[in-house]
């Protein structure tokens, strides 16, 4: 355990130094969190018609309108506050896509960097266990993305409170749906993306192409899943918690799958 923690510490230290100096990564680390921080506030400012109830209800909006009415009835709050709360919950969807996007791009650089610099052989020549290597790579790619997502989500929450108060004179805080999605489901999606990214990379000659393939596989898949279950996830806490548990199981299963197929030989012989 001590050995694993020590290896993780050094791998993460090195990744931090390397990524800090990699200017190619700066735009993705800055741009996406900026959008994320601004999004809830933009929704607040742009939703005057919805909040006032003046907007015509389109068929595709019907489920959200229903959710607002249900929340208002169940919690005994104004429709306006219920609508703002539901909008904030929905905005958390961005913070689920954010780790996916950052990880698939940063992951490409993390792996391609190793390949281009021929650093895998000296790293694997140390007593670093394959599982530790994999865990460190996973964390090195996923942790910065998750941290940026969390920072953006907190800033976004603060900005949205201010925006709702300023534009509609109501005090609405992001509730547990928002925070559970951001704090639990987001990291799980980031971890899943990183694992798929690593597995696909190990199977291919060109890790950068592998990471693009990862994004091509995962983005539509997650969009389909969230379009199907998204409305339920912003209204039913049991389903949201269930999704978190399923996410955790998937991360664990993916880690085992990747760990089993991801051996030193494959890295040495294919990542050249």
């Amino acid at each position: 355990m001590t050995r694993t923690l020590s290896a993780l510490r050094w791998m993460l230290w090195r990744e931090f130094l390397d990524q800090r100096q990699n200017r190619m990564l700066w735009p993705i680390y800055i741009l996406m969190p900026l959008i994320g921080a601004a999004l809830p506030a933009l929704i607040a400012l742009g939703s005057a018609a919805i909040l006032s109830g003046d907007a015509p209800v389109k068929p595709e909006m019907q489920s959200m309108v229903n959710a607002v009415r249900m929340l208002a009835a169940a919690s005994g709050i104004d429709l306006e506050i219920a609508a703002a709360t539901i909008l904030l919950r929905a905005s958390a969807g961005y913070f689920l896509l954010m780790p996916l996007t950052i990880v698939s791009i940063a992951g490409a650089y993390a792996i391609v960097g190793e390949k281009q610099q021929r650093t895998l052989e000296p790293v694997l020549a140390t007593p670093l266990a394959t599982g530790d290597f994999l865990l460190a790579k996973l964390m090195a790619v996923a942790v910065p993305a998750v941290l940026m997502t969390w920072i953006a989500a907190v800033l976004g929450a603060v900005a949205s409170v201010a925006a709702f108060y300023w534009s509609h004179d109501i005090l609405v805080w992001p509730d547990q749906f928002y925070w559970i999605a951001v704090l639990v489901l987001g990291p799980e999606i980031g971890a899943m993306t990183a694992l798929v990214c690593l597995r696909v990379s190990a199977r291919m000659q060109d890790p950068q192409a592998a990471n693009q393939i990862t994004a091509i596989i995962l983005v539509p898949l997650l969009l389909i899943v969230f379009s199907l279950v998204g409305p339920a996830l912003i209204t039913r806490i049991d389903l949201l918690l269930g999704a978190c548990v399923v996410g955790l199981v998937l991360v664990w299963a993916l880690f085992l799958w990747v760990r089993r197929g991801f051996n030193r030989e494959e890295i040495l012989c294919r990542w050249r």
Partner: protein, 307 residues
């Protein structure tokens, strides 16, 4: 009592899918000895080193490295890697990091204690004359400096056994001489060294034992045993014309005559050289020089590979 060898391998074989990379390799290496791996490109030298360093599992065969069974259990392979230093063919450093940061990272992965890391890193940087550039990014280093840094990295954890994969490739003569000196020092310090090289002269100068490999083992023995036991050559320098016909002593065979030089094969330099010189003078050859040629290392090597 004989000390346990650092490497004891029996019938090591490695396949990559259907391709046989190394076939039935058996060897022993004791501490304080240098083993040179010779062979053409794709002969299995790097695969052999990777297997013995615990990086690749053998497809079959057994080996004990630094007292641990190779490829049996993860713990044993980790223990082997902790006792081996590897200088890969391509140095492989994080170019955006400084030399010191790179070494600290690898020392950390080797499991050195935090307090020990800085001391060892500074020692190795100074040993390889990189102290002044220690805080420069590796991207600014020359090939020779990266090679020295690679050696520093391999020695950080004071391994018992070193694997050097073509360490002098691309180095200038001065850097090569320095590296050769270092290898001799490490050997004197009791390290076992496995050196992969394309240079027969390097193998001859440094190695106690030589392994010629081309997927299969073609030769394993002392470096001096690689020399042909029979057959010597003499190069004759002359001016003017070569005599059209002349009788040469027994055991002196004319191999070829060119412009201003001729080559003879002789059996015994001590006995045949004076007789040959006398015969040349008698034949009226205007001699400029008589030079024994150390024939055979290259020819012997090529002959071994052609078998």
């Amino acid at each position: 009592m004989t000390a346990t060898p650092l490497i004891q391998a029996t019938a090591l074989t490695r396949r990559f899918d259907q391709r046989l990379a190394v076939d039935g390799l058996s060897l022993t290496l004791a501490a304080g000895r240098v083993l040179a791996l010779l062979g053409p490109n794709g002969a299995g030298k790097t695969t052999t080193m990777r297997m013995l360093a615990g990086l690749l599992a053998p497809s079959s065969g057994t080996a004990t490295v630094c007292g641990f069974a190779l490829g049996q259990r993860d713990q044993d392979n980790d223990a082997i890697r902790a006792r081996c230093g590897v200088v890969p063919e391509a140095p492989g450093f994080y170019e955006r990091l400084t030399a010191r940061q790179n070494l600290r990272f690898f020392a950390g992965l080797q499991g050195l204690a935090t307090a020990e890391i800085d001391r060892r890193v500074t020692t190795e940087l100074q040993r390889f004359a990189l102290g002044e550039r220690a805080d420069d990014r590796v991207a600014t280093y020359s090939k020779g400096m990266k090679q020295r840094l690679s050696l520093a990295r391999a020695l950080l954890h004071q391994p018992q056994l070193l694997f050097l994969d073509e360490p002098t490739a691309g180095l200038d003569p001065k850097a090569t001489a320095e590296l050769h000196q270092l290898i001799r020092e490490l050997r004197s310090a009791g390290k076992g060294i496995v050196l992969s090289t394309h240079s027969l002269e390097e193998a001859e100068a440094l190695a106690d034992e030589v392994l010629v490999i081309d997927t299969r083992m073609r030769f394993l023995g002392r470096a001096e045993d690689l020399q042909p036991q029979q057959g010597h050559e003499v190069r004759i320098g002359f001016v003017g014309d070569w005599p059209g016909s002349a009788a040469w002593p027994t055991d002196c065979t004319l191999i070829e005559v060119g412009s201003g030089s001729a080559r003879f094969a002789i059996a015994d330099p001590g006995a045949d050289m004076p007789r040959l010189i006398a015969a040349l003078v008698a034949a009226g050859v205007p001699l400029l020089s008589v030079e024994p040629v150390r024939r055979g290392l290259r020819e012997r090597y090529l002959e071994l590979l052609a078998r």
